[in-house]
C-alpha cells in the first residue's frame, strides 16, 4: 500500500530520469529540448502532488466543504510553466539559428565542423 500511495512520486522520478537521460544521451538538439521539457514537467507534477491534501477538494470556497487542497504550489508551478515555455522557445530559436549557421543540428557534426576550422 505504501508503495502505491506514492504512485505520483514514482511517476515524477521516472519522468525526471527519462528526461534527464534524453538530455544527456541524445545528440540531436531538438530531442535534447524535448528531454529538457520532460525533465521540467516532472517537477511540475512534483509540486502539484505535494499541494494535494488527502480528502481535500479543489481550492475554491464552497459551502459544505471543510478541507481544501493547498493552492500555493499550483500558483508557483504556473510561474514555473511560463518559465519553461520561455526556455523552450529560446532553445528552439537558437536551434533554428544553429541550423542556419551550420546546416545541421546534430552535435557531433557541429563539433566536427568547428574542429576542422
Amino acid at each position: 500500500m505504501e508503495l502505491l500511495g506514492l504512485f505520483n512520486y514514482w511517476i515524477v522520478v521516472f519522468l525526471m530520469m527519462a528526461g534527464f537521460y534524453v538530455v544527456i544521451a541524445r545528440g540531436n538538439m531538438v530531442k535534447k529540448v524535448i528531454g529538457l521539457n520532460l525533465f521540467q514537467t516532472s517537477v511540475f507534477i512534483l509540486y502539484i502532488t505535494l499541494g494535494k491534501v488527502s480528502g481535500g477538494a479543489a481550492p475554491i470556497i464552497r459551502e459544505g466543504v471543510e478541507v481544501y487542497s493547498n493552492p500555493l504550489p499550483h500558483v508557483l508551478i504556473l510561474t514555473a510553466i511560463v518559465v519553461g515555455v520561455a526556455t523552450t522557445a529560446l532553445a528552439l530559436a537558437l536551434v533554428v539559428r544553429i541550423k542556419e549557421a551550420y546546416g545541421t543540428i546534430e552535435e557531433d557534426e557541429i563539433h566536427r565542423q568547428d574542429e576542422s576550422l
Binding site: 534527464f20 538530455v23 538538439m29 535534447k32 529538457l36 525533465f39 521540467q40 517537477v43 512534483l46 509540486y47 505535494l50 504550489p73 508557483l76 510561474t79 514555473a80 518559465v83 520561455a86 526556455t87 529560446l90 532553445a91 537558437l94 536551434v95 539559428r97 544553429i98 549557421a101 551550420y102 557541429i110 568547428d114
Partner: protein
Amino acid sequence: MIADQLPILQVVIPLLAAPLCLLARDGRLAWALSQAAALAALAVSVALLLTVQADGPISYAIGGWAAPYGIEYRIDLLAAYVLLLISFIGAVALPYAARSAAAEVDAPRLPFFYSAWLLCVAGLLGITATGDAFNLFVFLEISSLSTYILVGLGRDRRALTAAYQYLIMGTIGATFILIGVGLLYMMTGTLNMADLAERLPALTGTRTVRAALAFLCVGISLKLALFPLHLWLPNAYAYAPSVVSVLLAATATKVAAYVLLRFVFTVFGAEFVFGAMRFDTVLLPLALVAVFSASATAIFQDNVKRLFAYSSVAQIGYVVLGISLATPLGLTAAILHLFNHALMKGALFMALGCVAYRAGAVNLDAMAGLAKRMPWTFAAIVAGGLSLVGVPLTVGFISKWYLVQAALEDGMWWVAALVLAGSLLAVIYVWRVVEAGYLRAPAADTVVREAPLSLIAPTWILVAANVYFGVNTDLTAGLAGRAAALLMGGVP
C-alpha cells in the same frame, strides 16, 4: 518616502527600463536609457549600503503583504555588498558597451541587446535582494534566459552553440534548484528564507531535507560553474560579445556564489551543512581540483578569452575554498574574493575587448607584438594579470592573503601551500599573454592603433579600482568581515 522603497526600486528600475529599450527601436536611444537606468540602480545600491550600515538589515514587504505570506525583500550587509558590486559593474560596463557592442552586434539588434542586458542585471539584482526561495528561482531564470540571448549575439557562429550548451546546463541547474525549493516547501510549508531557517533545524534528520540540500547544492554549483560542472563556461565567455563577457565574468558567477552562501548559511545553517552533513569534505577537494585543473587547462589555450575563462573557473575554486573552510576568516576571504575577482576579470575582459575592437581577434597570434601599438590596453592586461596572480598592492593579493590566513588558522598548511602553488600556475598563463604582446614581433602589415578613449577609460577605471582596493582595504575587507560574522551567527 522614497527611502522606504529602495529595495524594490533597486530591481524595478532596470526591469522597467528593459521594455522601454525595445520601444526605443534605436541603438543609441536604447543605450542612453540603459545607462540612465544603470546609474540610477548604482545610486540606489549605494543608498542601500549606507542605510544597512547605519540601521541594520532592511525588510521590505512587496505590495504590503507581510512575510511569510507575501514576498519579502531582505537586504542585509552581504546582500547590499553584492548589490553594489552588480550595479557598479553594470554602470561601468555600459559606457564601454556603447562602442564595443555597436562594433560586435548588428545595429538592428542593439535595442534587443540592451533590453536583454537590463533584464540580466535586473535578474541578478533580484536574486540578491529577495528573501523568498521561490522568488529567487524566478529571478534566476530571468537573468539566465537573458544571458543566453546575450551570449548568442556573439559574432562567431560558435556563440550559438555555446549559448545552447549554456541553456541546457543552466536549465538543468535551475530545475535542480526548483526541486530543492519544492522539497523544502514540502517539509516546512514556507518559502520565506527567514521562516525556513526557523523551521528547518527541527527537521534536519529527515531524508527529504537532506535531498533538498543536495539538489540545491548541485543546482547552484552548476550556475556557479564549480568543477566538474563548469563545462558551459569557457565557450560562453569566449564567444559572447566582449562586453557581455565583462558582465558575465564580473557578476553572474558571483551571484551564484552569493546564492550558495545564502542557502548554506542563512537557510540550512552551517551547523547542519558542515557539522552534520560534512559538506566541506566534498567542497574542499572540488575547489582545489578546480584551481589546478582549470589553471592547467588555461595554460594551453590559444584563444585569450578562453584562457581567462578557464582562469575564472580556477578563481571560483578559491571562492568555494573559502566557503568550505566554514570559519569567519574563510568566509571573509570568499566574500572578499567575490568582489576582487569581479574587479580583475572585469578589467581583463575589457582590455581583451579593446584588442578585439582593433585587431578583430583575441588569440595569441593576433595579439603578437601589439603592446607597442596599444600600450594602454596591454598595460591594463598586465595590471589585471598581476592582480590575478596576487602581487602585493593589487586586490588579488588581499584575497589570497586572507585565504592563506584562513587556511593556516584551521591548521591546514597544505591548503595554504596549494593556494600559493595555484598562483604560480596563474603566473604561467598570464605570462603567455604578456609574452605574446610585448616580446613577439608583430605581423608586418598590421595597422592596429590604440583603442578609442571610450573603451580605454572604463577599462582603466576598473584597473584603478584593482589598485585602490588593493591598498585601501577598509571598505571591502571590513565589509566582508562583518558580513561573514553575520552569516556565521545564523540569521542576521
